[in-house]
């Protein structure tokens, strides 16, 4: 039996997990790509959603050779696309409920 956990990572732990130096992670946060809780880098806490987003950002940066500003734009647009897709899906289903008998 496996239990589930909530993730609260410090800057250092987060850097180890995703294998980036601290100054890169600070730069990523400065671009608003992830928003850790806590005011200063010492107090930052990254949750599991931030970790997932960070990994996605690193993939885009490495694999598409983007700079951080471009990564931030790409992620914002991907979020928007996903949100619109989900909404479109939901509205289509709602509409179908009224069309079908």
């Amino acid at each position: 039996m496996t239990t589930t956990l909530t993730v609260q990572l410090t800057l250092e732990e987060c850097c180890q997990l995703v294998e980036v130096p601290a100054d890169s992670l600070i730069e990523i946060v400065e671009h608003g790509i992830v928003e850790p809780g806590g005011g200063s880098p010492d107090a930052w806490r990254f949750d599991d959603a931030a970790l997932g987003r960070l990994r996605q950002a690193l993939r885009l940066q490495r694999e598409l050779e983007l700079d951080w500003q471009a990564v931030a734009v790409a992620l914002d647009l991907l979020d928007e696309v996903n949100r619109l897709r989900a909404e479109n899906e939901r509205l289509k289903r709602r509409l179908l409920r009224f069309m079908e008998l």
């Binding site: 589930t4 909530t6 180890q16 599991d48 997932g52 939901r90 709602r94 409920r97 008998l101």
Partner: protein
């Protein structure tokens, strides 16, 4: 092992210069990147493109590959010629050690030379694995234990690919999970190497579309068909909820599209419980016999109702 034509994978000529190769890679990488393209097959295509560029984008590797090309042709069986030695030397030197998605073909040329060099390897944490987990709406109401089965890529101490490891676990899904929520299962990801810890498993919750209920945040929506006379006169109808049926009072003079709130019968979250909305939909009988037709005619003459009175003014 199949010979890989990296030039064909990038759609460039074998004589292409660095810049052409880079441009081709960037274009294809953008097109097939799994974050940008959710279509089936895109991820595999991206891996091929990345592997091709790993070789052709590096002058040394490209030169080695060009030498080997004289021995093989795309899609045909290929063996590394005897005595072939990767110029890079040490085994597993390339940075993808312990998590490479590259093909056997790539590994046999640029990968490790097992046994040739034993170097102390620093302990390395295994990869985190992310999986989507379908969850039925009914399953979000209370804590659940769900079986999860997945396949982990497996590597030996030299970073060489071994047969995949099949895993099956029971995972506790807390009550009130939402679509897109991530559940972390510690230590159940990729295997660590040289004594490093295992990676974690992340399960991303995907709520399965329900045949009757639609989800809107924490609220649920159910469409309730009504006969015209039920809408006109009011009625009591049995309505399904996620936790059994209830009786719902339909007020007289109800309309299609009208929403009736059933408090607390939506999805449960950690902080609040959503509501169920019954959306009314007036449905005509599929056919009317002679007596019904006469009753409709009486209604037409008595009701004095024009549903298009607003509409016709606006056109």
């Amino acid at each position: 092992m199949e010979f890989k034509d990296y030039y064909a994978m990038l759609g460039v000529e074998p004589t292409a210069d660095e810049k052409t190769i880079k441009t081709a890679y960037r274009r294809l990488a953008r097109k097939y990147h799994p974050d940008m393209n959710k279509e089936a097959g895109a991820e595999d295509k991206f891996k091929e493109v990345a592997e091709a560029y790993e070789v052709l984008g590096d002058a040394k590797k490209r030169a080695e590959y060009d030498q080997l090309r004289q021995y093989g042709r795309a899609g045909e069986n290929f063996e590394v010629p005897p005595g072939w030695q990767h110029a890079g030397g040490f085994g597993g030197q390339h940075e993808h050690f312990g998590g490479s998605d590259f093909s056997d073909f790539f590994e046999s040329i640029f990968g490790g030379q097992p046994g040739a060099h034993h170097r102390a390897r620093p302990p390395r944490r295994g990869r985190d694995i992310e999986l989507e987990m379908p969850v039925f709406l009914e399953e979000t109401l209370a804590e659940q234990t769900k079986p999860v089965e997945y396949v982990l890529p497996n590597y030996d101490e030299h970073g060489r690919r071994q047969p995949d490891q099949h895993k099956s676990l029971n995972v506790k899904i807390p009550a009130g999970v939402a679509d897109g929520e991530r559940i972390r299962v510690k230590g159940q990801g990729g295997q660590g190497s040289a004594g490093g810890p295992n990676g974690d498993l992340y399960l991303v919750v995907r709520l399965v579309p329900h045949p009757v209920f639609d989800v809107d945040g924490h609220d649920l929506i159910v469409t309730v068909p009504l006969a015209p006379w039920e809408a006109a006169l009011g009625a009591r109808v049995e309505v399904p909820t996620l936790s059994g049926r209830i009786n719902l009072t339909i007020p007289a003079d109800s309309q299609t599209g009208q929403r009736l709130r059933i408090k607390g019968k939506g999805l449960q979250s950690k902080h609040a419980s959503g509501d169920l909305y019954a959306v009314l939909k007036v449905v005509m009988p599929p056919r009317n016999d002679e007596s019904a037709r006469q009753l409709w005619a009486q209604l037409r003459d008595a009701a004095g109702f024009d549903p298009r009175s607003q509409w016709s003014k606006q056109a």
